[in-house]
């Protein structure tokens, strides 16, 4: 078998694939964070919890109501999106206009509550969810084995990332959103319901996280604390990409997944820290991130 730096090629490809999949999750999550931050200037510390809610909802809906994967793929994000809108309407709205730091602290509290309550009900050992039948098996690409489900995750995540980017950067609705955050009074003068727009934006960002959660349910262990670690990684991804840059978040997300996969192949002990190392280096060279504009 061919080797590279003492590592079999098959292992390398395998880790690269895992890297791209992780990267797809990072991209979806950091995209949601970037949308919420870029448009609302809210750092959503509850983002990991929303991702967790999406995955938990998928499992719970299946176990209790027999809701299948495809329905969950729509239903779970919608439910979590509603939770998001409620959080925005009842909590975040009250501190609009205060220092942005308070939105971070508030969502941190919300995350603690959600995570704590679900831990009490379901424990931290992890729930099981099986891969939908359509995606069982895989295809041999000659140099590696590609499970169908993993391929689907990559395709679905990238598609959703592209649609979101297109919607915000290229459509009229996106233009309203961007204008509403630029000068909300003026936009309201034009007859646009800005508070509603804000609620919906937060709900939408949170839906992206929940969608990632549904995708994650069959391949990761579903626990109430699953969002807590990935959230910090995603924060680092967003800093590397440049806060508020939507395209940057997507590209950096996938890139960082790959970097992590490569590190796991060649120097495993550093794999969980490598993204933070990259962040330190990027901050030293480009303080505004790879895709950030000069502040």
């Amino acid at each position: 078998m061919s080797m590279i730096f003492g590592v079999p090629m098959a292992v390398l490809y395998g880790q690269l694939l895992i890297g791209v999949i992780n990267g797809a999750f990072y991209a979806l999550l950091s995209l949601g964070l970037a949308v919420i931050f870029g448009l609302l200037k809210i750092i959503n510390f509850a983002h990991g919890a929303m991702y967790m809610l999406g995955a938990m909802a998928t499992v719970i809906l299946f176990d209790n109501l027999g809701v299948n994967y495809w329905v969950a793929l729509f239903l779970a994000p919608v439910l979590v999106g509603i939770v998001g809108v409620l959080v925005e309407y009842f909590l975040l709205r009250r501190i609009a206009g205060q220092d942005h730091i308070y939105s971070l602290l508030l969502t941190f509290g919300v995350a603690l509550i959600m995570q704590g309550i679900l831990t009490n009900i379901y424990g931290v050992s992890g729930l099981r969810y099986s891969i939908p039948d359509v995606f069982k098996g895989g295809v041999n690409l000659g140099f590696m084995f590609l499970p169908f489900y993993r391929a689907w995750v990559i395709v679905a995540a990238l598609l959703l990332c592209f649609v979101t980017w297109f919607m915000i950067e290229k459509t009229k609705l996106g233009a309203y959103l961007r204008a509403g955050t630029e000068d909300s009074q003026l936009m309201q003068g034009f007859g646009i319901n800005v508070p509603l727009l804000v609620s919906l934006t937060y709900g939408f960002g949170v839906m992206l996280a929940a969608f990632a959660g549904v995708l994650a349910a069959p391949i990761y262990s579903v626990t109430p604390v699953m969002g807590s670690h990935i959230l910090i990684v995603v924060f680092a991804v967003v800093v590397i990409g440049g806060l508020g840059s939507i395209g940057g978040a997507i590209i950096t997300g996938i890139l960082m997944g790959v970097v992590e996969g490569l590190t796991k192949t060649f120097y495993p002990p550093a794999s969980s820290a490598v993204i933070f190392l990259v962040m330190v280096i990027v901050l030293m060279i480009r303080p505004n991130g790879l895709f950030g504009k000069e502040a």
Binding site: H100, G109, L112, I113, G116, T119, A273, F276
Partner: protein, 331 residues
């Protein structure tokens, strides 16, 4: 009455008021001091020392957050670095006296603080929070991987040793008064810092950074210094904590700890001197009391709820609200 008379009258009233204020303060401080000195005869000293360590941690954090306006979400890194350094040195070099271990831990945290500051200081607000959080996570992973920390198990059996090679710290009461002295010293130091001209520049930076810059202050230097001092005090708190509990663990490095110190400071009153102390006392007590009772499993969601309520309803914290009330009603 001539105008000069009125003015001197006003001045005298102000002076009188200041005298009353300062007398009130002295009485309050005196009462608190007596209470602290007598406390270990009523309560379990180790629990009191836990409160003091967290109070110092919160005071350190507040120097940066409350007085300079920089929200660090990575202060757990300094607490843990202080703790692990002290724990490692005291466990492996029997010739070291306790205070040398604690000083070394503090120095290590100071150096780390300088590194953090240099990397993060150009960011502001939430950007700053995220960068410090990610840096602290890097430190966390280092502690997870490094062999000397004992990984998930933590570092057990740190010897308390003897202060200056003379005073036996195995005795809880002795150790309590040492910790209390260190705490009070740091508290007074922070009080001195924030009331000094330097402290006023920090407050100016917090309130209006562009103006502070245009007045000619080298803002970054002020902020870096504040960050380093805050990190040093947080490291000191961690060092003492490892001596008190004879243990250094990953819990101290986890980002939940960074969140907890924010909660302590916020609930007590950020930007006040006594606030973080009160907040730490409250949070440690809440965690302990809940941990004993039927709500044992609900500590996290309850703390989260307190967080939400504090942010929504009383952002200036308990001490801040009391100050407002006193100012309004007792003139």
């Amino acid at each position: 009455m001539s105008q000069i008379d009125i003015q001197s009258d006003i001045q005298q009233t102000i002076l009188k008021q200041q005298k009353i204020d300062s007398r009130r303060k002295w009485i309050l401080n005196g009462v608190l001091l007596v209470l602290l000195l007598l406390a270990p005869f009523v309560m379990y000293p180790v629990f009191l020392m836990k409160i003091l360590c967290f109070a110092l941690f919160a005071v350190a954090f507040n120097l940066l957050f409350g007085f300079t306006g920089l929200l660090s979400f990575g202060h757990a890194a300094f607490l843990a670095t202080g703790g692990y350094t002290t724990g490692y040195l005291l466990s492996n070099f029997s010739g070291l006296t306790t205070e040398m271990g604690v000083i070394a831990g503090t120095l290590m945290a100071t150096v780390l603080g300088l590194g953090f500051a240099l990397l993060s200081i150009r960011r502001q607000g939430i950007y700053f929070a995220m960068v410090t959080l990610a840096l602290a996570q890097l430190v966390f992973f280092f502690f997870v991987q490094a062999s000397f920390t004992g990984g998930e198990d933590g570092m057990h059996g740190v010897p308390r040793g003897e202060l200056f090679g003379l005073i036996n710290l195995e005795d809880n009461l002795n150790l309590y008064y040492v910790v209390l002295t260190v705490f009070l010293g740091c508290y007074l130091l922070v009080q001195r810092i924030v009331s000094s001209p330097y402290g006023h520049v920090l407050k100016a930076i917090k309130q209006n950074e562009p103006r502070a810059i245009s007045l000619g202050y080298k803002v970054d230097r002020y902020k870096i210094l504040a960050f380093v001092m805050s990190a040093a005090l947080a490291g000191l708190a961690g060092s003492m904590k490892s001596v008190v509990f004879e243990l250094a663990s990953l819990n101290d490095a986890h980002w939940h700890m960074s969140g907890e110190v924010i909660l302590m400071t916020l609930i007590g009153g950020m930007g006040t001197l006594l606030g973080p102390v009160l907040g730490a006392t409250l949070v440690v007590n809440i965690e302990y009391q809940l941990g004993q009772g039927p709500l044992r499993d609900w500590v996290d969601p309850i703390l989260g709820g307190i967080f939400v309520i504090t942010v929504l309803a009383f952002r200036s914290g308990i001490v801040g609200e009391v100050q407002k009330f006193v100012r309004k009603n007792m003139g």
